[in-house]
């Protein structure tokens, strides 16, 4: 959070300060919604509901977590509520530990030295987006908060009301899942280029 945003001013109802808070976090929260729900209308609903809820509940904010973690917690709840409503068949509360087999890599091609321009241009970027979208919701939320938005393990756990151990387990599974998908794609490409 930009250090100049004053919690005291926010709680006192300073609207200019709230507008600055909105500008500081709206891109991150919109992005989170976009990647959790996969469409811009739902992302916008999550964004609006998050700040409406924040505005309502600011006077109750006790500062047990940082303001940013508190905002991400509201946004994550909004996104998960929407998923529950739209996809009741999805299990977003999955808590069981990973099966050992889930974590076993099958792809050992080293594509890590390929230039970023190649990895993120055209098809490469599409594969990355699809891989993130293919993550189960319970893993995707942890991955987005930790690896995309840069929250710490502790903050991610606070935002999602999970234990740190649970966050670490889901993060490992998410990272291995994405690595496997990207490796599979780049392996194919490298074979065809030979």
């Amino acid at each position: 959070m930009p250090s100049e945003i004053s919690l005291q001013a926010l709680i006192a109802g300073d609207r200019a300060e709230f507008a600055r808070l909105v500008d500081a976090y709206s891109s991150s929260i919109y992005r989170l919604g976009l990647r959790m729900l996969g469409n811009s209308q739902d992302a916008e609903d999550i964004l609006q509901n998050t700040f409406l809820s924040a505005l309502t509940h600011l006077p109750e904010f006790e500062g047990r977590s940082s303001l940013s973690t508190w905002l991400y917690r509201i946004a994550a709840n909004e996104a998960l509520m929407l998923i529950r409503r739209k996809k009741p068949e999805v299990n977003i509360d999955e808590t069981e530990d990973a099966e050992a087999e889930d974590l076993l890599p099958a792809q050992f091609v080293d594509w890590s030295a390929l230039p970023e321009t190649e990895l993120l241009s055209g098809e490469g970027k599409q594969i990355l987006d699809e891989a993130v979208q293919a993550l189960p919701e319970s893993l995707r939320m942890v991955f987005l908060l930790r690896d995309v938005e840069g929250l710490s393990i502790k903050e991610t756990a606070e935002a999602l009301n999970l234990t740190e151990t649970n966050v670490k387990t889901r993060l490992l599974r998410a990272r291995m899942f994405l690595r496997e998908k990207l490796s599979s794609y780049h392996n194919e490409r490298m074979i065809h280029q030979e």
Binding site: S40, P105, A106, K168, R175, R179
Partner: protein, 91 residues
């Protein structure tokens, strides 16, 4: 393509379970040392580490972080009755 289950090192699976914590700098010094010693002699595990790090790098790349569309920002400010502050766009 080899599977990790066919791998010659018996402790690959155990150590790969610690890979995320290693990447996050959250592994104990003892396990860190054990993992690094293993990585020095295990090509496959090194590839898994390098490609996992690269995967995380890619989602951090600027192209992957689009800004909020201006019309979405405008509707958000209107919904929050913050219209007066719309002009103070930080961009």
């Amino acid at each position: 393509m080899s599977k990790m289950t066919d791998h010659v090192h018996s402790n690959c699976e155990y150590l790969l379970g610690s890979l995320s914590e290693y990447i996050d700098g959250e592994l104990s010094p003892e396990l860190c040392q054990e993992l690094e010693k293993h990585l020095a002699g295990c090509d496959n595990c090194r590839v898994v580490l390098n490609t996992t790090l690269r995967t995380i790098d890619l989602v951090h790349a600027p192209v992957e972080k689009p800004d909020l569309p201006e019309d979405v920002r405008e509707r958000l400010f209107q919904r929050l009755n913050l219209d007066d502050y719309l002009k103070h766009n930080p961009e």
